[in-house]
Amino acid sequence: MTTPCSSTDQKTALVVASGDDVDELLTNVLASDGWTIYPAADNQHALALATTEPFDLIVTGRKMLGPEDVELLRKIRSARAHVRLIILTDRFTPGDVISAMREGAFSYFSAPFDASELAAMVRAAMASPCWDDGIEVFSATPAWVRLAARCDISTANRLVQFLRGVRNPDVPEGVISAFKEVLLNAMEYGANFDPSQHVEISFIRARRAVACRVKDPGHGFSLQELRHAALNNPADDMLSHVAVREAQGLRPGGFGLLLAKKLVDELIYSEEGNEVLLVKYVDPPVSQVA
């Protein structure tokens, strides 16, 4: 039997020591919002504390291995299913990231990572009043991950961070940026950011290409009819869609699909327009060149 979310006003976080500037960053972010911080020296210490205290958030230390953090997550969530746990690690494999997703980690940061990205993710975890996962992994190998994601911005940001970990170093960061653009587009225009809806996602790594497929629950659209999107701007007027959006009372926007298209080699929509495939060609890893 699992315990429910903490109902007390005083929020508590358990932080496993990383032993560097990350500890200070986490302390600053958590303390600025009045959270009480409990330090732990290592995962064994963290597990002992977590079995007696209902922490709202746990952040692991960078010194532990990825599989050790996933094991900690598994043990804690078996007793406290709603705990939000962010894994930080210096040593990991894409398989570790997938395991963390399957076990319901809130997020996963493998070095090197951006301090502001981590701070933003910690804030997102702090802002979740009673968290459940929102990401369901249907099947996953390092070469092919298939999952569904709840249609809200926080889940989108978490998923993008997970995929950064699954991505091999030879895959450009631009692929992740392009994926984020089409994912948010699918969640907004295909589901109006309705958290009861989900988008389906496949992330596939082939020898010479990486591909992302995103399918939203909406009725689709026609690319040619999107006069409010920069994708259909004439080459000599990159601002023409801005006037269309203003006339239609739309907020500033319209660059997502164009940016995604420019960051990958192919952007292909299904006939209905509610399914999109991104393809980026890459050089095969050195280990496979023979």
Binding site: D20, D21, V22, L25, N28, V29, D90, A111, P112, F113, D114, A115, S116, L118, A119, A120, R123, I153, N157, E173, G174, S177, K180, E181, L184, A230, A235, M238, L239, V242, A243, R245, E246, P252, G253, G254, F255, G256, L258, L259, K262, L263
Partner: protein
Amino acid sequence: MTGCKSDGDVVGLTISTRVRDDVTIVDLRGRSTIGESELLDRHLQKLLASGARKVLLNLTELTQVDSSGLSIIIATCASLRRHGGDLKMLCPSGHVLEVFRVLRLLGTITSFDDETQALASFRSLGHAASSS
């Protein structure tokens, strides 16, 4: 590299404003991506409402931008131009510069590497564009 890359601030986006002559310089620090871009939108809307017509966006310390942040910059630029003003950029670099480059927007919004030159470029608009 195995460390934690810090931009010196754990806040998503910080915005500060200063005025030189009749140009409003908006210093951005951090990221203008979905979730943070709304702050930039509100800030720029207030500037326009207060009569600012010559805006220089200092992107020196902006580390990331996505379509949400980009769209706000572009929409503000278009609005300023309709009112006889303009928006220009100072020192976009790294990922931010790459986004503007791949979208071929550097030909649409003028960018400078030097603040003095950027400020001087607004003189051609004259004082009439200083406020509504």
